[in-house]
Each structure stands twice: as C-alpha cells, then as structure tokens.
C-alpha cells in the first residue's frame, strides 16, 4: 500500500477501483427479451434503507413484493465499498436513535435485525466534539440527552435559560410527534407551532450568543438544510436521537444491507437489480396497470411505491397524467447538501478510539450553503479502529459540506474522462481537508494515508442519485414534501425526502406507508407482536 507521501493526484481520480463496485445498469443486458407479464401485490422502487424496510414490512405481512434497484447491488446510500480491504462508507457514517427503546432500535426490532446491528457509541471522554477553528474553541458532547444539556450549560453558564429552553422544546416536540412512536403513526402532516418556524428564528428568540447558536445547530449537517430554512420541529426530530444515542455501526451500512437482504430473501421478496421503470402502462382511471422495465420485463401490480429522489419519481411518472401544479411543486425542491468525502487510514499509530469531530471554520454554519463564500466549509470526521482480514486498521472518514455548484461545470463529463481542472479541484480539497485535520489533531500529522476521495459527482455516478446530494431534497419551512399517495392512485412516495432526512427518517417514512398499505388494524397487530 502506498505510504502517506503517495502522490495525491493518483488518489483523487474519480475512477475509484473498488473491490466491490459494479456500475450496474449501464451495462447492456442480454436477457432483455420481453417476458410474460408477472403479477405482484407491490413494486418497491429503490433499494436504499427506505425501500428495503418497506419491502420487508409488506412481505412480513403476507404481500408479494418486487424490489427494483437501478444499480447492480442493493443498499443505495447504505452501501459500503472496499478498496484494498479498507472500507469506505458512501452515505451512512453514524446515526442517532440507538438509545434504549429509541425509535431506531424499535424499528430494527420490528424488522428482526436488531441483533445484527451493533452500535459503537461515541462514549469515551471527548469522543464527540465540535471545534471552531476561528477561535480554537472545542465543545465536547457526552452521550445522553441530559448529559448533553448539562455539558452545554457548563460551557455557556450565562445562557443557562436559553439552553434549557432549547432542550425542553426539542424533547417536547418529539414527545408530541405521533410518528416517532411506531404504535401511533399518522400519515397526516405533523403539526405543532414549531413546524412553521425555522431553527434560526427559534434560536434568535432564545439567545444572542452566536457561538451557542452554532453549537445548537451544528447537527444541521445531519439533515443538510440551513437553519434559516429548516423547521425547528424537523431539527428537533433529527437531533433528539443524536443527543440521546449517537453511534457508528460495526461494519457500517453493510450491517444493515446484509441483514435486511437475508430477511428479504427469507420472506420471498424478489430483488431485481439493474432494473428501473421505463414506462407506466395500461393507465385507467388514474391507476397504472403495469410497468415496463428497462430489461423489457413487464410487471402488473396493485401498488407501486417509490423510495427514490423526487426528481427521479417525476421523470418516471407519465407526464400527460400530471397537473402542472404537481410538476411545479416537485421541480421547486432544491437539492440538500452533499459531502466531499475522504477515505483514509491513520498509519503508524496505536489503535485510535471511535470519535466524531465537527470542524467549523466559523460559527456561521449557514455560510456553508453559500456557494460564493470563501470560508472553508464545515466538515465532520469520524475515526475508528476496524479489524480487516485479521489486521487492525485505524480508519478515517471525512465529509466536508459540498454544494451542487462546486462541481457544476463538470457535471456533463463522464466518469473516467473528467477534465484536469476537476482533478485539480479534488486535489485541492483533499489537501485542504488533511491540513485542517492535522491542525486540530497534530498527532495525525504525516500519518493520514488517503485511500480514495469522492466529490458530489462521484456520488452521483456511484449511487445513481440525481445530484449526488446526501439527504435528498432540502427541507424547508412551508414546503410540502412528496409523501404518500401521488396523483396516480396506486402510486406512492416514501424515502428520506418524504418525512425526515437520514436513516431513521427514511425508515420512518416506510413504516408510515406500510401502515397505510397493510391497513391500520393488521399493522397494529403486527407491531404489537413484534415489540410485545
């Protein structure tokens, strides 16, 4: 393996030669002859965490399901690639919700994969911190809701009242959100006063302290919308789990994909990879009778649920069946942030602890959403020690906020033949990221060995997402997401753009849709049986 001094230029090329990547549907398929029409109860489109969850919930309740995936393997952004045995995670790095009886744990229990998902908590001293480079201030957040609250009060004793107001509000909002309790889901838009005010407005109301506001809004990086656009209620629903039970997962997203795949097979879900819907056919009275796939296969189905990006859903639906108002709504969604990601090992050191650092240049975190800003963008880096083929490696994953605009000028270039200017861009960002991390952690100086790097264009190629953004669409106050029934009566939308971004939010949307499709009574009985 190349040492830390390996020329960066070789490492920033976009054709990451991974051990397990197959470009998928771009390959022509041989078996494209038209087959006789298959009939199933449900088609689930997209095999990310939301699609896998939904397919399994339906199958466990006796319905037949075909799960369609455009790529060659299932998993969507949960996929973990390996290069030289070193893992790199595409979309899943850590999550909240691992506290006892937390929402995520309960969802995993219902899916019967809770035993296979092993959280690695950031629970050693100083293992979860926020660092402001501008003034060298570091804030460490302990694990647990009240522990976080107390730590922040200690950092900002003069703003004790503001901190308490914030933590009281976050908890109250989550306690009052029906959909955060699996026994109590509702498809109707959640509504509390904080669904109509932004994070920025809420924080401005309670304090003038900009550093405190930055500390309380930094987890916005986990939903990818600026504080002046995100609703405070949405922020609360994402952050509650992060304060309570933030953790990495042993084997990363692979653990989810592997265990869900085994369950999907056990319950007879038919997984079709390299497939996508080419057209909706036999439409009668606003119901789609059958779907023609790119492979030439036709499937007739009662219901089709899309868990993919709304822009991709819109492209798939028959345009002449849609009202302009609907298209305008969907076209009005903006992409969330993406991440420029760096995969590395930390060599010549003893085992490093699991740690998570949010590194912010200034306390103006919303500045990261301004493509013209000259400030370095916030980044998060996660370290951990992984046993790879009997050898321990210190693995470092860094993800720095990226915007569509960063790489827009090269978006029409193809993987493998991107221009030199793009390679320069990646090289610059990699060098700057390493410098920032070495500054904040001098012990890593000269020991960071880059394995690969990925821009939003890389993610666009590898994950088949329209912009390569991390969280689907940007979440905004007074925005109506695409969720539930669509204008064609047997077509539905779920996924991380539907309810809340992130793993838990994406899974939640699938539970809500499943309840609607299975029926309330059967669903309640099922949840009761699974959770006791």
């Amino acid at each position: 393996m190349s040492g830390p001094s390996a020329p960066l230029r070789d490492l920033v090329k976009d054709e990451i030669k991974t051990d397990n990547f197959n470009p998928g549907y771009e390959r022509p398929r041989e078996e494209s002859s038209r087959k006789c029409m298959k009939k199933v109860d449900n088609i689930v489109v997209g095999s990310g965490i939301s699609g896998m969850t939904l397919a399994l919930l339906l199958a466990k309740n006796g319905q037949s399901v075909v799960l369609l995936e455009k790529a060659a393997t299932i998993g969507g952004s949960m996929v973990r690639f390996y290069k030289g045995g070193i893992p790199f995670d595409t979309g899943f790095h850590f999550t909240g919700g691992f506290e006892k009886d937390g929402l995520l744990i309960e969802m995993l229990r219902v899916l019967n994969i809770d035993q296979q998902i092993e959280p690695i908590f950031f629970d050693t001293p100083n293992s979860n911190s926020i660092v402001f480079e501008q003034n060298q201030q570091t804030y460490t957040l302990p694990l647990g809701y009240d522990e976080c609250r107390n730590a922040i009060v200690n950092y900002f004793p003069g703003d004790k009242e503001a901190v308490n107001k914030y933590f009281d509000a976050v908890k109250r909002i989550c306690d009052n959100t029906a959909s955060m309790n699996l026994r109590n889901l509702t498809v109707s838009r959640e509504s509390c006063p904080e669904d109509y005010i932004t994070v920025a407005d809420f924080l401005d109301e309670i304090t003038d302290n900009t550093q405190l506001k930055a500390v309380l809004s930094v987890y916005g990086l986990c939903y990818g919308s600026p504080s002046k656009e995100m609703t405070f209620a949405g922020h609360s629903r994402v952050c509650y789990g992060l304060y309570n039970g933030i953790a990495r997962v042993k084997d990363g997203g692979d653990a989810f994909v592997r265990s869900l795949k085994a369950e999907l097979e056990k319950y007879g879900v038919e997984i079709l990879t390299n497939r996508f819907i080419e057209s909706c056919e036999d439409i009668e009275d606003k119901r789609v009778g059958s779907f023609l796939l790119n492979s030439g296969e036709r499937i007739s189905t009662d219901k089709c649920i899309f868990t993919i990006h709304p822009a991709e859903i819109l492209k798939t639906l028959p345009q002449d069946e849609l009202r302009k108002g609907f298209c305008e709504r969907v076209n009005g969604y903006q992409p969330s942030i993406g991440f420029f990601t760096l995969y590395a090992t930390i060599d010549d050191m003893g085992p490093v602890d699991s740690s998570l650092v949010a590194l912010c240049c200034t306390d103006n975190i919303d500045g990261a959403y301004d493509p013209s800003s000259q400030d370095a963008r916030p980044l998060i880096f996660v370290t951990g020690n992984e046993d790879i083929k009997g050898k321990e490696h210190n693995v470092l994953h860094v993800f720095e906020v990226a915007l569509v605009e960063d790489t827009q000028e090269w978006e029409n270039s193809k993987r493998g033949s991107r221009p030199a200017a793009y390679i320069d861009y990646k090289e610059r960002r990699v060098a700057s990221i390493i410098k920032r991390i070495e500054n904040v952690n001098p012990a890593y100086k000269g020991k960071i060995n880059v394995v690969a790097s990925a821009s939003m264009l890389t993610f666009k190629d590898y994950l088949h997402s329209p912009y390569g953004c991390a969280y689907g669409i940007r979440q905004k106050v007074s925005q109506f997401n695409l969720f539930g029934k669509l204008p064609l009566r047997n077509i539905y939308a779920a996924g991380q753009s539907a309810v809340l971004p992130g793993v838990a939010g994406a899974m939640m949307s699938s539970f809500i849709i499943a309840r609607g499709l299975i029926g309330k009574d059967l669903y309640n009985e099922f949840i009761q049986n699974q959770l006791g």
Partner: protein, 88 residues
Amino acid sequence: MDEIIKMTNEVFVDSFEMEEEQLTEDATIFDDLGLDSLDMVDMVVALQKKFNVKIRDDERVRNIRTLGDVYRYIELLRDEGVTSDTSA
C-alpha cells in the same frame, strides 16, 4: 379583493389547466373544478408561491369548499400579514 381574485384564478389556469369561465366564486373545488384532496397540496403550494404567503395545513385550509373560500382565505392571510421570507 379584485387583485386576489385575478391572481388566484391565474393559479388555477396556469397550474391546473382550468378554463377562465369555470372559475366562478361559487364553483366548488372538488366537484366543479375536479380537484381532489391530493391536488389540494399542489394548490396550496402554488398559492404560497403566487402570494408569497405561508399557508398552514390547518382547519381553515381543510374547510375550503369553493373558489370564493379560497379568495377569502387569501384575503385573511394578507390581513394577518403572514408573509414568507423563504418563497420567492
């Protein structure tokens, strides 16, 4: 009010392919104009954009039955000064 009527009708013509002559004050949204509960979301989004207002998904929206109800609802929002910074 005339301006509200004119702008609301533009939304129905532009985003929902309605004919101008269908758009009378007592036309019911569901029966006469043929929208359904799912179209209502798109209607709300289009109205938010047109009038630069924030519309809550609340009782008042759910009670809208006729085009005249829409006019009066928008007028009410205007009077309350509920404007939005986020929609352009």
